[in-house]
């Protein structure tokens, strides 16, 4: 039996190369498939937990209620939050496997857990109608992001183009979901949108109207172009947020991806 040397302390320090003929060995392949299946389940389920916690606590409120999804804050906060989490995972998965799937995986998993959660937690548990609490969709942005990484094959270029599109396209992607709730209504002599009215009618004891962080009137809207302006700024913010977390992911992979002699 061959004597196997222990792996190098750092995963990036591993020296030598592989005899790839093992990849054609059917028994080895059955092991690989088994490992693939397990890792997909483990990785995806923890991604689902990670994104649901990360997203809930950095942008959750904007996604819970339709009367929070405005055109100035929601499209800014949401891409930043998502891009941060995605950024932390892209580097290791790209570096080790050249698999450009993280953004799509995260956005799709978030969509699925959000639907389960809105139905059971906001619907069955606290009785809100789904028309008021349905999740937004980000899958299109995830697919675009990953496709950019595939086509550029560059972490650097995709770090600029991918998050830029992610931030810029979030509003048009979700507009078909939101438009119905932005139709004007007159209520008690006040102009409100359908979404505002739902926020008023469906009683949220500890979520008062003023708690919403949404667009308020400013003196200047530069010709009323709030949405495109937000899209560009959001794109910028997404690039910064993503890049920082890409670097964090790289640091964890290159420096923390190791065995230590002792804890301290």
């Amino acid at each position: 039996m061959a004597n196997i040397a222990l792996p190098a302390p750092r995963i990036t320090d591993a020296s030598g190369h592989y005899d790839l003929s093992i990849l054609d060995n059917p028994r080895a392949r059955s092991y690989y498939r088994r490992f693939d299946g397990i890792l997909i389940i483990v990785l995806f389920s923890f991604l689902a937990l990670g994104i649901s916690i990360h997203y809930a606590l950095t942008a959750g409120d904007w996604d819970y209620w339709i009367d929070w999804r405005d055109r100035r804050w929601w499209p800014l906060v949401t891409p930043l939050s998502l891009m941060m989490f995605i950024g932390g995972f892209v580097y290791p998965i790209w570096k080790a496997f050249r698999l450009p799937v993280i953004a799509t995986a995260v956005t799709t998993l978030l969509c699925l857990v959000s639907w389960v959660s809105r139905y059971f937690n906001f619907g069955q548990f606290t009785d809100f109608p789904l028309s008021f609490t349905f999740p937004s969709t980000y899958i299109g942005l995830g697919v675009i992001f990953d496709s950019v990484l595939i086509m550029t094959r560059s972490l650097l270029i995709s770090a600029i183009v991918g998050p830029f599109l992610f931030g810029a396209l979030i509003w048009p992607l979700n507009w078909p979901l939101f438009a119905a709730s932005k139709v004007p209504v007159e209520y008690s002599g006040t102009l409100v949108s359908v979404a505002d009215l739902m926020g008023y009618q469906y009683i949220r004891t500890t979520t008062p109207e003023y708690l919403r962080i949404i667009e308020e009137s400013t003196l200047r809207t530069f010709g009323g172009s709030v949405t495109p302006l937000t899209a560009v700024f959001s794109a910028f913010v997404a690039v910064i947020g993503y890049s920082l977390f890409l670097l964090l992911g790289a640091a964890l992979y290159n420096f923390a991806g190791r065995y230590a002699r002792r804890i301290i």
Binding site: M1, A2, I4, L6, P7, I11, A14, S15, G16, Y18, D19, L20, I22, N25, R27, A28, S30, Y31, F35, I38, L39, V42, F44, S45, A48, L49, G50, I51, S52, I53, H54, A56, L57, G60, Y64, G88, F89, A96, L112, V113, S114, S117, F120, N121, F122, Q124, F125, T126, F128, T205, T206, I213, G249, L252, Y253, A256, G257, Y259, A260, R261
Partner: protein, 273 residues
């Protein structure tokens, strides 16, 4: 069988190696090989669904006021039970794993080592089932609760489910698993996997963060904005999962070699000159 392979690959293939072979083929073999994941996963699924049904039925009915006698009847015993069960699993499990540690790494054959890697992955799969349940059912239930109910004490029903059970359960199983891996798997023995520690520590940090959260809510933050800075500490859990990438690579580096040795008798790693 081995002769065929020997002819095909030009080397002797050990036949007694595989857990795969021992378990048999087809669906039955698959189930037998992954019995830890299936049984453990099913068990946690049942526990998770059960406690979620309990939360659904008992939160708004008898869980809105800590000072009502009903709360003391239906919620506090659950809390005490959770703390006792999880505390015992963590403490006794850790002690057991340490006391029964492997003393001699050299005595572990590659077959046994590979099997232990799959056992470790089996535990991760079980925890993955639990993680997905928390992500889908627990996290936002706390948001849904707080945004309609008045915060009274640290023992609101959703907290009793999430902060005293769901999240600590991950820690209660991960810490003994961490000790198990570091005392049973040669690549981890006598040294510490930093990414593994990162995942465990990040998930454990939820508890101290929870302390800060309650302290802050009684002291300076009275609103129920979920994305408020006071809650950002919990994001550490999400971020600690960034260590999963490096951890997966650590597992893969060793398993690639083990699989080669176990299936062909040769290490697939060729040292550079």
């Amino acid at each position: 069988m081995s002769e065929v392979k020997a002819a095909q690959y030009g080397y002797e293939v050990p036949t007694d190696y595989m857990e795969e072979t021992a378990a048999g083929g087809g669906l039955a073999g698959h189930l037998r090989r992954n019995r830890l994941a299936y049984i453990g996963g099913a068990l946690l699924l049942a526990v998770g669904i059960g406690i979620r049904i309990y939360q659904q039925m008992m939160s708004f009915s008898v869980g809105m006021d800590f000072y009502e006698p009903e709360f003391q009847t239906y919620w506090m015993p659950l809390l005490y039970g959770e703390v006792i069960v999880l505390g015992s699993i963590m403490v006794l499990g850790s002690i057991y794993m340490w006391m029964t540690r492997e003393k001699d790494a050299a005595s572990i054959t590659p077959e046994v080592e590979l099997k232990r890697y799959f056992t470790l992955l089996g535990v991760f799969t079980v925890l993955g089932v639990w993680a997905a349940l928390i992500g889908a059912l627990a996290v936002e239930s706390d948001a849904a609760w707080h945004q309609v109910a008045i915060r009274d004490t640290d023992f609101t029903p959703t907290h009793i489910v999430i902060f005293y059970f769901s999240l600590p359960l991950l820690t209660a199983i991960l810490i003994p698993t961490f000790i198990w891996a570091h005392t049973r798997i040669p690549a981890f023995m006598n040294r510490i996997s930093v990414p593994f520690l990162g995942v465990v520590a990040g998930i454990f940090m939820i508890m101290p963060n929870y302390g800060f959260n309650e302290w802050g809510h009684t002291f300076f933050y009275a609103e129920e904005l979920f994305a408020a800075p006071i809650h950002w500490g919990f994001v550490v859990l999400g971020w600690s999962l960034f260590f999963l990438g490096p951890l997966a690579v650590q597992l893969i580096q060793r398993m690639a070699q083990l699989i080669s040795v176990v299936t062909t008798g040769r290490d697939c790693m060729i040292a550079d000159r």
